[in-house]
């Protein structure tokens, strides 16, 4: 099982992150200084790392404005970076001053992005049966209390009726 994260390259506008920051301000929360958004995909099935890299680079990434990271994912959250974009250093990804909120659809909820992904993978010539899941990852910068993160997650980023969120 692989997780692919699509990130905006440095120097390009992270529009969705900016919108979320504006919405957070609209909730009256002031200590979030910056938000970066990246999209997440989990691909499960009889699929190799090379094929996953093809999916990430040829299908999911806009090579001008975005980079990708591929992580091996075992069952739940345990993840290990096994491939990352070439032009950004590992250190850039690790910033102790940010918190992360991940949002995923709950099992059983129609996820049309992952349905499209499965079809597109076949169109790409990878004729394998895979399962996919699509999610969202928000990096929130600033000194933010856990309770505030929970508020942002449930009042703004996820509809807990159909989505689950991980805050860390």
């Amino acid at each position: 099982m692989f997780e692919i994260e699509i990130l905006t390259k440095k120097g390009f506008k992270n529009s969705r992150g900016e919108h979320v920051l504006s919405d957070i301000c609209g909730l009256g929360i002031e200590n979030v200084t910056k938000v970066e958004y990246s999209s997440l995909y989990i691909i499960d099935g009889d699929i190799s790392f090379a094929e996953t890299e093809t999916i990430a680079s040829d299908l999911l990434t806009d090579k001008i404005t975005e980079n990708y990271v591929i992580r091996q994912r075992d069952a739940e959250c345990l993840s290990e970076v096994i491939s990352k974009f070439s032009d950004v250093k590992e250190a850039d990804m690790i910033n102790p001053n940010f918190s992360v909120i991940e949002v995923w659809y709950k099992d059983g909820v129609t996820d049309i992005v992952s349905e499209s992904l499965i079809k597109a993978v076949k169109d790409l010539g990878i004729a394998k049966e895979i399962k996919a899941k699509a999610g969202h990852k928000y990096y929130l910068y600033g000194e933010i209390f856990r309770v505030t993160l929970d508020t942002i997650a449930t009042k703004l980023l996820a509809n807990v009726l159909i989505q689950e969120c991980k805050v860390y």
Binding site: S22, G26, L27, G28, K106, G108, V109, T110, D111, I112, E115, S116, K155, L156, N159, L161, I162
Partner: protein
């Protein structure tokens, strides 16, 4: 009857009344005790208990959403006025009001009325145009994005499923939301903030409509805190259909072909869920998520199959899923369906879940066996899944089979006609309306009031919403939602006009779409609210050039709990107005929908919505060149006000912003109003009108300001020249009995502002002979909006730019 581990027998034969009711509640069946007892008796006669598939099928078929039990049931209505009570019994409220009016009008150009997925009127000798408006309120309250998107997807499928399929040309959306600026602390736990609901709903409509390639061309938004917990989301779609594709009939032996999306646990109990109040503990399965790309492919392929005459009937899978769609198609013949053949998104679904799932983007066709290979080939070509799941029989029974076991066997007669008619009580007290104390203001105060009115949520620009929608796709939108000189200066159009030249070669005809809605009036008098909504929808259509003699209308009632006699009483009163106005204007209803139980309980406290009736109008315009927009066109042109201004402030925008108590709700005077509408049509057809705008929220002041700032021009209006009448219908001497501010902000119905070239004045006056109208001013080049009353020493003067900014800046980048 053999049951598998996936299908349970529901023991009801020996249950007490209390246990029956508990069973209904526990399983979200939304069936009353009386209905449960009838089901119990039916199975007693069969000497067996029902299966869960059978119980779920009955609950879906008998749901308020599918059967409209309240509006077609028996109602004992008592109306009280000045202490006197009158009583009337309705055996079928819809039949005796709305349907009755359409039947009596019996317009030959109405091709399909209240009998299919949408109403159809004649467009030309070869084509009809279909229109349907649906609501998706409860799903949008729970999941605004998915709820609104599937609302749009659903109404598009209604158009695909009318007759043998119409091609969608345009969509409309109308919303009612809570105040988006509401403090978060005031929003109850378990409810999304109104801003989040608004953003989600708009995004859902945008993504579905734009991806389908159908322009969203017309709409309205109403804000009221009463919709905080329970937004209203109305979605409408209009399409064109050849006249020879309107009739459809299933024949025994036809195959049941399900086409489009796969079935999952989406929207389980959607039909029955819509008959319950929102209680903050809603189930994940009640939420639906749409996939417009699948629906777009279904649209394209089915129109090809239609034109090759490959199927005999079609309908969409909406509320109730396959149960509703196949059940309706096979109502007169009978049907057998093999549930294990239904393509699934994932395993693990019980047979009843497969049968009632409201998974999106599915259509059901009745296909003669000899055409099955060819039609599946057409769908396959575009990668659309099409699977034969059964056949229509001649036994008039519904038979459901799973893995070779018969899980349901019921007569169609019981299923479709076995539901008892509920008897409800309704009560309404007509309260006396009183004119408010005279409103007198200085010029400065009037100017400030105009700015506040333009900035009010219910008047201000909805550009943030409109510009997210593609209203140009298909290239046939002639009159658009925002109108003006350029992208920075625009005003609100009254109605949209579609010129369907790609669908109908060499035509000059157009299609007008408009709407009317004002829940504020309904808080005081639902009769006047309904009458005003009808008049407003017609006024909007006429303002762009429609002929009132060729307009049809649709009703969409969104009300609270009809078990409350006063709530139902107000609904009865609104339907009465629908009948009266339909007859008086000679405008037929062709389709409609009701959404009841719009109430929400949190911590045992009941929240109910303000009752809302949306009237959507569709008409045919003979020549699209004879249409007009609302911005002023040329300096020096003359301004006329058509219609009478009365002292009517009840429920008005001005009353709200100035906290004015009392006031009379605007009434409708059909004879007066229809006469003016017919004359405007004649004048527009004769190219005598340069610009036309209806007066609604905010009255003459707002309408004139909008016409001026959208053109970046100025205007001079002489208030004393505006014709007024006292509420006692006695003609006022202009301006004498109403103060200048009352004349400017009254929301009387039946009025238009029109711009005329001086050269056309004589001809225009001749057409208007016998009607109440007056010349009130002129278009000027100084970019100032001026209202003057010399008798009252009032001169209001404001720049167009300031007024435009007031109007534009309320909702920005939500």
């Amino acid at each position: 009857m053999k049951c598998t581990t996936k299908c349970k027998t529901i023991e009801i034969l020996n249950l007490s009344d209390e246990q029956l009711f508990e069973l209904s509640k526990k399983n979200v069946l939304s069936l009353s005790l009386e209905e449960m007892k009838i089901i119990q008796n039916y199975f007693k006669k069969l000497k067996r208990d029902p299966t869960d598939v059978e119980i779920e099928t009955i609950a879906q078929t008998w749901s308020e959403h599918c059967k409209h039990k309240t509006l077609t049931g028996m109602i004992e209505y008592i109306e009280e006025k000045s202490g006197e009570k009158t009583k009337k019994t309705y055996n079928n409220l819809l039949q005796e009001t709305i349907f009755k009016a359409s039947g009596e009008l019996n317009k030959p150009w109405c091709l399909s009325v209240f009998k299919d997925n949408a109403g159809i009127i004649e467009f030309d000798s070869e084509n009809g145009i279909a229109f349907k408006v649906e609501t998706h309120n409860h799903p949008s309250a729970l999941e605004p994005y998915g709820g609104s998107a599937t609302g749009m997807g659903g109404v598009i499928r209604d158009i695909l499923g009318v007759g043998l399929g119409a091609k969608p040309l345009a969509s409309t959306t109308v919303f009612c939301f809570g105040n988006p600026d509401m403090e978060s602390s005031k929003v109850p736990e378990g409810v999304h903030h109104p801003r989040r609901i608004m953003k989600g709903v708009v995004s859902g409509i945008r993504d579905y409509g734009n991806r389908m390639g159908i322009p969203t061309v017309n709409g309205a938004v109403c804000f009221d805190d009463g919709y905080m917990s329970n937004p209203l989301v109305y979605c409408g779609t209009m399409g064109i259909i050849p006249k020879n594709k309107i009739d459809k009939k299933v024949e025994s032996g036809d195959l049941v072909l399900v086409v489009g999306g796969r079935t999952g646990r989406d929207g389980i109990h959607g039909a029955t869920f819509s008959s319950t109040q929102l209680d903050g503990e809603s189930d994940i399965s009640a939420v639906q998520i749409g996939n417009p790309i699948i629906e777009k492919k279904v649209l394209d392929t089915m129109i090809e199959a239609r034109d090759l005459n490959l199927y005999r009937s079609v309908t969409d899978c909406g509320a109730g899923g396959l149960s509703s769609a196949v059940g309706e198609l096979g109502k007169k013949t009978g049907t057998v369906v093999y549930l294990d053949k239904v393509p699934l998104k994932y395993g693990g679904l019980c047979p009843w879940e497969i049968w009632v799932s409201e998974a999106q983007e599915r259509m059901v066709f009745a296909v003669p066996p000899e055409n099955i290979e060819r039609i599946i080939g057409i769908f396959k070509k575009e990668d659309v899944e099409a699977v034969c799941i059964g056949e229509f029989t001649d036994d008039k029974k519904l038979t459901l089979v799973y893995d070779g076991d018969v899980l349901a066997s019921m007569s169609m007669e019981f299923l479709h006609n076995g539901v008892p008619k509920p008897a409800r009580r309704a009560f309404y007290e007509i309260k006396e309306e009183k004119i408010q104390k005279p409103i007198d203001m200085s010029s400065f105060e009037i100017s400030s009031s105009l700015i506040s009115s333009l900035a009010d949520l219910n008047v201000c620009s909805k550009e943030w919403i409109i510009k997210q929608y593609d209203h140009e796709v298909q290239g046939q939108t002639i009159i658009k939602p925002l109108q003006g000189n350029n992208i920075e200066t625009s005003g609100p159009g009254d109605a949209a006009v579609i010129f369907p030249y790609t669908a109908v070669k060499n035509t000059r005809k157009g299609i007008v779409l408009s709407n009317g809605l004002n829940p504020q009036y309904g808080k005081i008098d639902p009769y006047k609210m309904a009458a005003s909504a009808i008049e407003e929808s017609l006024r909007n259509a006429v303002a762009v050039g429609a002929n009132v003699k060729k307009i049809s209308i649709l009703d969409n009632f969104c009300w609270g709990n009809p078990s409350d006699p006063e709530v139902l009483g107000s609904l009865v009163r609104a339907t009465k107005a629908c009948h009266d106005m339909s007859k008086a204007f000679e405008v037929p209803f062709i389709s409609g929908k009701d959404s009841l139980y719009n109430e929400y309980f949190i911590n045992k406290k009941k929240y109910s919505i303000p009752s809302a009736l949306l009237i959507s109008a569709m008409g045919v315009i003979e020549n699209v060149e004879n249409t007009v927009t609302m911005p002023f066109k040329k300096n020096g042109n003359k301004i006329f006000v058509l219609g009478v201004t009365r002292n009517e402030f009840g429920g008005s925008v001005f009353s709200k912003i100035k906290s004015i108590d009392g006031g009379i709700v605007p009434d409708v005077y059909p004879r007066e109003s229809k006469d003016i509408m017919e004359k405007i049509y004649n004048a527009i057809s004769g190219n005598l009108i340069e610009a036309c705008h209806d007066c609604s929220e905010g009255g003459i002041a707002v309408a004139v300001a909008e016409m001026a700032f959208s053109a970046n021009k100025g205007v001079y209006i002489y208030i004393d020249a505006i014709e007024t009448l006292s509420p006692l219908k006695k003609k006022c001497r202009s301006g004498n009995e109403m103060t200048p501010v009352e004349v400017l902000f009254s929301e009387s119905n039946g009025r238009f502002i029109v711009e005329i070239k001086p050269d056309n004045e004589e001809k225009f006056r001749k057409i208007l002979e016998g009607s109440i109208f007056s010349e009130v001013g002129y278009v000027s080049d100084d970019k100032k909006v001026i209202f003057e009353s010399k008798k009252n020493n009032i001169k209001v003067q404001q720049s167009s730019e300031v007024l435009l900014n007031s109007w534009r800046n309320t909702i920005i980048g939500c």
